[in-house]
């Protein structure tokens, strides 16, 4: 037995149950990160089996190994660059023919490999008789049957892995591509002889060059003498294409399938069936022509309620808890800058990070359920026609819907989108869905400036504006930022499964940890910065000498009379302090820009501070209008706003439009940074949405004024 750690790469089709097997092998000993420079997840786990340490890498699930998809390039580069000691190819035994197509491509990479036939129970149910030893003989590699869902066969698989590593033998393998293409391969191999130190298996390299694989071509171009080889390969490729009479990569794929078909027929006693399975019968209902859409909306309604209504309960506890900790710490500390930093900055900041946690956990519970049962593909199937109208994929619908609750889970939910363009556009427009944090702002302003009979219509038009602009921006972004053909919608509809509790819990847990680690630290930093901007400079020169005024009040009156007066003085002082803070100065500074929208510096400060979280707009307004700490439905703030001559129903409406559209809150910007792996996109999101907000607010205010409102 070899010593040291052995690396095992897990490869397989999506829906082959690869991740379940990965979880069975590694249990809780796993780690999720990203591959360098790309947003493809890299999942690693550790296992000790019979004294042998195993490092297991879960490769992205792919159907093929072309350079057309990022996942596929990542998967094969791990195999080529990191040279894992062994590849374990997980196959769905009930869908073996297509799964073997990837197996053949993996074998062409000439690394030691073990086949894991998963879901053998399903295959048997479907009437397929599998002869594992025949397959083993035919392909020359170990084959193990197992049922991942019930954790059966995991030890047998590990045994095969350890045994295979002991021999370290690679069984030579090649697909016969037919006389004409084989001749081309031979010629390319000849041309490649001039190059030395190639990290690739030679035959594979020749095959990929004939397939015109862009990634491999780039790699060769980077080697000394590579350009010359490439031009002679190009000539060989053109000549062979003429002889074959078809694009080579297609012809070669067909040869692979032909080979796979032979292997498959040899060892599976298959009745060629297109008969209807249990899954098809479930589908008859769930994607039914007429009730399919109502069922879809029912399931979405349930998801939405689980995430936001159920999530609201623990969220409330956490908020209370944070408030209590803040209060306790505050009560036990001397008043001053340190206390303010700790209570308002750090505890408040950490609080705003963890208050999202219940929603994130529930969201990923919901998404894991939808994905693991197989319904996610059906949802995309049902909604694709609608989403395509705005240049998006069927799967974009779910994140956009979640955006009405909170953009943080919405953006994290875009992970289910495989195509980068689809995903980026969805990320950029989902903050336009009016999230629940904006609602307190609307209710305050509507209550202060609109009659009860108008309230519903005003609120609806705000939400509607968000959706309409999301559609418009999605079309624009598709056209100008992510142009070109969208990924073809060719999607497997996996059989329905009952998911395992274990895989769902692991799924939920790792996503939440990622959120806490990456987005959490950013949100905290930003909250402290925001605290600084609204609280500094510390020593401002007040118009009024509040300290001596307070002393005078205390001396002149007895406590019952003095206390309300003192409280009033505190509020006035707080109002003046925020006006003189950096945020306040910034509010004054940007006032000229906001003038055409009918806003003054007070709205400016509120909008700046509300980048921390949109509902902060209400509390900042309360501070400025010196009405103290209030809830959105408080009468005093409504009255104070109504009494301010700057405000009018039109200004209130404009402010709502601006609040709806302008920069997403810090938490969302942090999540965009985390999900896109770049600062460019949160910056872009900030700029475009703020510009959009200004333009729309300008149209509303100036248009409204012109019409005499």
């Amino acid at each position: 037995m070899s010593t040291g750690c052995m690396t095992v790469a897990l490869a397989g089709n999506p829906n082959s149950g690869k991740t379940t097997i990965f979880n069975n092998i590694t249990g809780a000993h796993q780690h999720v990160g990203n591959y360098a420079g790309v947003t493809v997840e890299r999942r690693e786990g550790f296992r000790r089996f019979q004294g042998q340490d195993l490092l297991v890498i879960d490769l992205p699930g792919t159907y093929s190994l072309t350079a057309n998809s990022l996942d596929e390039v990542v998967a094969r580069n791990v195999i080529i660059d990191e040279k894992p000691d062994l590849i374990v190819n997980v196959l769905d035994a009930s869908n073996l023919e297509r799964n073997l197509y990837l197996a053949v491509q993996l074998l062409e990479l000439e690394r030691p490999m073990v086949l894991a036939l998963n879901m053998t129970d399903m295959a048997e149910q479907a009437g397929l008789k599998l002869d594992e030893t025949a397959l083993q003989r035919r392909l020359g590699i170990p084959v193990v049957g197992l049922v991942g869902n019930r954790n059966q066969g995991t030890d047998e698989l590990l045994q095969a892995v350890v045994d295979a590593s002991a021999t370290h033998a690679f069984h030579p393998f090649s697909v016969d591509y037919g006389l004409k293409i084989e001749m081309g391969i031979k010629q390319v191999l000849e041309a490649l002889k001039t190059l030395t130190n190639l990290k690739y298996p030679m035959r594979w390299l020749a095959i990929k060059l004939l397939e015109n694989d862009s990634d491999v071509k780039n790699a060769i171009a980077g080697i000394a003498g590579g350009d010359k080889v490439l031009s002679s390969v190009e000539a060989i490729r053109n000549k062979t294409t003429v002889i074959v009479g078809e694009e080579l990569e297609i012809a070669m794929a067909e040869f692979r399938y032909q080979y796979v078909g032979e292997v498959y027929r040899d060892f599976v006693d298959s009745r060629a069936r297109t008969e209807q399975s249990v899954s098809d019968r479930i589908d008859k209902v769930l994607t039914h022509r007429i009730i399919g859409i109502p069922i879809f909306f029912g399931i979405m309604w349930l998801l939405f309620n689980i995430v936001f209504t159920v999530g609201e309960i623990p969220k409330g506890w956490i908020e209370e808890g944070v408030k209590w900790i803040g209060g306790t710490v505050g009560a036990n500390m001397v008043e001053g800058q340190l206390r303010s930093l700790l209570v308002d900055g750090i505890i408040g900041g950490v609080g705003s990070v963890i208050t999202f946690l219940p929603m994130i956990l529930l969201l990923f519970l919901g998404i894991a359920l939808l994905e693991d049962t197989g319904y996610m593909a059906r949802a995309a199937f049902v909604m694709d026609r609608v989403m395509r109208a705005v240049g998006l994929h069927g799967k974009s619908f779910i994140p956009l819907l979640l955006g009405f609750g909170c953009s943080v889970p919405a953006i994290m939910g875009t992970r289910t989108l495989e195509n980068r363009g689809d995903r980026m556009v969805t990320i950029l427009v989902s903050p336009l869905m009016s999230c629940s944090a904006r609602l307190p702002v609307y209710t305050l302003l509507i209550a202060a400036f609109f009659s009860e009979s108008m309230a519903g219509s005003v609120l609806f038009s705000i939400y509607f504006l968000g959706v309409a602009l999301a559609v418009g921006m999605a079309l624009l972004f598709r056209k100008f930022l992510f142009p070109g053909a969208t990924e073809p919608f060719i999607m497997e509809m996996p059989s329905y499964h009952i998911p395992t509790v274990r895989s769902i819990l692991i799924h939920m847990w790792e996503r939440s940890i990622l959120y806490l680690k990456k987005a959490g630290t950013l949100i905290l930093t930003a909250s402290i910065l925001m605290w600084f901007l609204t609280n500094y400079p510390a020593n401002v020169e007040y118009v009024k000498d509040y300290d001596s005024a307070k002393v005078a009040v205390t001396e002149k009156y007895d406590a019952p009379t003095a206390n309300p007066m003192l409280a009033q003085l505190d509020k006035e002082q707080a109002a003046e302090k925020i006006a003189l803070s950096y945020a306040g100065r910034f509010g004054h500074f940007i006032e000229p820009v906001l003038k055409p929208l009918g806003f003054d510096w007070k709205m400016g400060v509120s909008l700046v501070s509300a980048v921390a979280a949109k509902e902060v707009l209400v509390s900042t307004l309360a501070t400025i209008y010196s009405v103290g700490d209030v809830e959105a439905d408080s009468q005093s703030l409504q009255e104070a706003l109504a009494a301010d001559p700057t405000f009018s129903p039109l200004v209130a409406l404009t402010l709502m439009v601006f609040t709806l559209l302008y920069s997403p809150c810090l938490a969302v910007l942090a999540v965009i940074r985390r999900e896109t792996n770049s600062w460019k996109w949160p910056a872009f999101s900030f700029v475009y949405s703020t510009a959009l907000a200004w333009i729309m607010a300008f149209i509303v205010y100036q248009g409204g004024s012109a019409l005499g409102f």
Partner: protein, 80 residues
């Protein structure tokens, strides 16, 4: 009788005679196992008429009509 896949009715089946189109789309179709000679059956169309769901090689696949139009079919038998 020759038809493209998008013109088949639910329940109709046939053998793929040719895949037209170019580049990644064609490659994707072929990678998913829709090669010449494969038996496919139309399962259904989505509630809004597009995309469609087919069965091939023991698995179900959904694709948009624009992609299905690239797949030429030789009909075998009528409604199964």
């Amino acid at each position: 009788m020759k038809k493209t896949l998008d013109s088949l009715l639910p329940g109709e089946k046939g053998l793929i005679s040719r895949v037209t189109g170019i580049g990644p789309v064609k490659r994707r179709i072929v990678d998913m196992g829709l090669v010449t000679g494969t038996l496919v059956q139309v399962q259904k169309y989505a509630p809004l008429g597009d995309p469609m769901e087919i069965k091939a090689k023991n698995f179900n696949l959904s694709l948009r009509k624009t992609e299905a139009a690239l797949i030429e079919i030789n009909l075998t038998g009528g409604n199964a």
